[in-house]
């Protein structure tokens, strides 16, 4: 059963890691614990109870494990990240790493309480780590001012648990894929000690959710991709010729006017036939936003549309999601409890929690189910069904638009005549240009055969996804 396995995996992992950490023990320094420091935590770890796991043995060892050995990775030092770091530190975790690629902005200060005005512009991970390290004796947070993609398996493998407070679905999926790639199968049987539980939280205004993922065992991020519907963008014809809402006017200024008026063509480069370049719109630059705001007002005036404000302009350009401290506090409050369910030894129940406090307070937990043919975790080969006359463009659209795949900029390769051939790749301009003509060719013209395997790489996953091409008539 799930709960048994969860518990035993901690046992096994604990032993495995203890052996490893003997060799790489951190010098935590003096961390004299004063009387009563862990009294709140101890009551749960050192006393048995009627609802704890049948295998749970109360002991002082567990607290020791928490304090000395358990290594946790927190991804994101933003709204959720700050709360998570605080909760973990005050719950006894001492070896924490935190990864965040952002720097601090003034608008963070209403909830990301590890930061002060003086910290604006500095890396979130570093300021957060400093704060905790200087205020919680014995706690050692290691910051990484990096993107998650800059680390490989050897980095992630060292952690017992990974907790995510991310604001991007792509990043979540990537993390999900990374942990799936760490799984070890002995004769087709999953080795539980290769599982690193992933606890993922998200908030938006007064709503939030938190879920526990045991890679290889429970539903992963991609199993429930439909829970994150793709972002709806306004149709181009509305923006270009039929605006009705103030948002349409703002998108007009952002998407159509800005590139037109901010592309410069130095004459020398024109002679060298290099592609045009321009200044990208920077949502954090107040001057840029002001420009868009003014243009949006002009556009709105043309069509008698009211409602364009500076705040709305910023919100649309930066895709701002409203946020408050309280929701982050609530969701982060459930997260360590979830992992602590193993450590506090309660039988963990449903793995997905939803919270909403717009009207009273509402929570709901359910068990997210694994998808049999999940493209990330099922190990079932993914199928692509197309007639041989279909163009590669159609395959590309399927990969990006299908609700269960939702890829962003897939790169497709296939083995043709014994060689690995890139059929289409977007992310490198020169290769994109070279492979673009393939989009208009049919699958038959490209030399693909029925049953052929296509390898697809995308920013949503660290590993390539293999698809089997089946020709339909």
């Amino acid at each position: 059963s799930l709960s048994l396995l969860l518990f035993s995996l901690f046992r096994k992992k604990k032993r495995r890691i203890e052996e490893l950490t003997e060799k790489m023990a951190l010098d935590v320094g003096s961390s004299g614990d004063w009387d009563g420091r862990w009294r709140h935590v101890q009551k749960f770890l050192e006393r048995s109870g009627p609802f704890t796991h049948p295998d749970f043995e109360p002991s002082e060892e567990t607290l020791q494990f928490l304090l000395e050995t358990c290594k946790i990775l927190v991804i994101g030092a933003g709204g959720l990240g700050c709360e998570l770091l605080k909760n973990l530190a005050l719950s006894g975790f001492r070896h924490i790493h935190v990864v965040d690629m952002d720097t601090i902005d003034v608008s963070n200060l209403n909830r990301q309480f590890l930061f002060r005005s003086k910290d604006v512009g500095h890396p979130k991970a570093e300021v957060a780590a400093d704060f905790i390290n200087s205020r919680v004796p014995g706690c050692h947070v290691v910051p990484h001012f990096k993107k998650i993609q800059e680390f490989d398996e050897s980095f992630y493998r060292q952690f017992h648990i990974i907790v995510c407070g991310l604001d991007s679905i792509i990043a979540r999926r990537w993390m999900n894929g990374m942990l799936l790639s760490l799984l070890v199968y002995d004769d087709g049987v999953l080795d539980p000690s290769s599982i690193i539980p992933l606890i993922d939280g998200g908030t938006e205004g007064f709503k939030g959710n938190a879920r526990v993922i045991l890679p290889g065992m429970t539903a992963c991020i991609d199993c429930t991709l439909e829970l994150y519907p793709p972002q709806i963008n306004f149709p181009m014809c509305t923006i270009a010729s039929m605006p009705r809402l103030p948002e349409h006017c703002i998108e007009y200024a952002r998407i159509l006017q800005w590139p037109k008026e901010n592309t410069s063509i130095p004459s020398l480069l024109v002679l060298m036939c290099l592609p045009l370049y321009g200044v990208a719109l920077d949502g954090d630059n107040p001057e840029h936003i002001h420009w868009v705001f003014q243009k949006s007002l002009e556009r709105a005036a043309e069509f008698n549309i009211i409602g364009v404000t500076y705040r709305l302009t910023q919100g649309v350009v930066k895709r701002i999601i409203p946020a408050v401290a309280s929701t982050n506090a609530v969701i982060a409050g459930t997260v360590p409890s979830r992992e602590n369910t193993a450590l506090f030894a309660y039988v963990p129940l449903n793995n997905y929690l939803v919270f909403n406090d717009v009207d009273g307070l509402y929570t709901y937990t359910f068990e997210a189910e694994r998808k049999e043919n999940c493209s990330a975790c099922s190990q079932v080969p993914q199928k692509l069904q197309f007639p041989p006359s279909a163009k590669l463009q159609e395959v590309l659209e399927y990969l990006t638009e299908n609700a269960s795949l939702q890829m962003k900029s897939p790169a497709i390769t296939a083995t043709l005549e014994g060689k690995n051939k890139t059929l289409y790749l977007q992310t490198v301009a020169s290769i994109e240009e070279k492979t673009r003509p393939n989009l208009c060719k049919t699958l038959k013209e490209l030399g693909l055969a029925d049953g052929q395997e296509l390898a697809v790489a995308d920013v949503t996953t660290p590993q390539t996804v293999l698809f089997k091409l089946n020709f339909t008539s």
Partner: protein, 534 residues
Amino acid sequence: MADHKTNKDQRYDRQLRLWGDHGQEALENAHVCLVNAAASGTEILKNLVLPGIGAFTIVDGHRVSGEDVGNKYLKLSCRTVLLNRAQATTELLQELNTDVSGNFVEENPDRLLDNDPEFFHRFSLVIAVQLEESTCLRLGSVLWNAAVPFLVCRTYGLVGYMRLVVREHTVVESHPDNALEDLRLDQPFPELTNHITSYDLDNMEKKDHSHTPWVIIVAKYLQKWCREHDFQLPRNYKEKEAFRQLLREGIRKNENGTPEEEENFDEAIKNVNTALNPSKIPTAVEDLFNAEQCENITSQSPAFWVMVRAVRDFVQAEGRGSLPVRGTIPDMIADSDKFISLQNVYRERALQDAAAVSRHVESHLQAVGKLPECISEQDIRLFCKNAAFLRVVHCRALVEEYGVDTVHKDEITSCMDNPDSEMVLYLMLRSVDCFYQQHSRYPGVYNYQVEDDIVRLKLCVHSLLQEYGLTVNVKDDYVHEFCRYGAAEPHTVAAFMGGAAAQEAIKLITHQFVPFNNTFIYNAMAQTSATFQL
């Protein structure tokens, strides 16, 4: 000054998008009192200081203990162990937001209630955390008489508890998640009818036909339907399907007879249910119309009730049975001109209706000798826009919850039909309070006490159930579990409750969004929660 304002706008940007500048102003004018700076309390205040509450005052007579330093929101370093808890916590929190004014009173709340109960009258809201039952009831009584809202919050082991006590809390901007549109297609007002009549669908150019808002299309076809169906709107599924078919047939066809691509017609078909929603007054609002406060407008009547009464008057007169038109329409496929002119029809009608309501407001104010400026046009318009979403919350006094004759026996008993309902956690909290009354301590605080306290606590449970005549079964497991907790305040549960309680406090202060009514229980073991009216 201007710089400070822009800086504040930037700092609070993400929350201003939720409760607006007026909500923020309410927050900045509020003064909250926290009784007991325990971990849960510190967490609550942190979540109020960060968004910019005007001021807070902590009342706490305790010294900082080793446990506090281990458990509380960071910053407490070893040297603060010497300070009193109120002061230490105030300094901690003050650092989070220099716009907030923090105060502390190093005093036991019981003493304050003895010597100066009116101390509490000055606050917008009082929040009590981890407070013993007797003090809590005393404080509750003082605050009820002074009409100051009271929020009780507890973290007890893996259980979180909140109780809201407020005589009457009115909400104009409840911001419902799934609000129905106010399109009035079942009973179009004259200007809407005129506007619809101005369209000649059959003789329009193709481009215009495909870019006519679906609201117009549905309205036109409803007119057609009504003529053929004895002026009855489509009522059941069968009729609605037939109506959809009628719409489908309205799609222009090309030379070959195949229907053209007309997305606006697709939208119309998809929105038939929305369109046919009867424009009736929600029961919650009808209840407000029937309330005593609405019937009897006096010079003491809060603006809310004067406006409710004005809207009721409007419904009975100019509104002809309907609320003021809201004035907003959803986006829909259409060219700019057609959409904007349709939107303006609704918008102008809304302004007219609001003006009519305003005249009723004025006449009531005059009748009780008050100036019309008492209630601003802006407030009246906001009220009218939200007329369908008004909410009033009454959370009864603690003394009624605790009274043997006034306890909500039925609610408790029916919840306990499921012996693992969160209600059992409430009963256990009441039981540990009984235990505290008898033994001046909570059960199982020290390891050696656990075993014997299980027996003692069980006796408390029985006497509680007997006192209130509750024939329910409280499983021994829960008695055991609550002894195990030893009145611990685990940080993660305190953090959860800190977020939950802070948001309820913000709702009370801003009068936006709807507070819970009146008891919230969080089960951190199972990660479930429930709300009861006790």
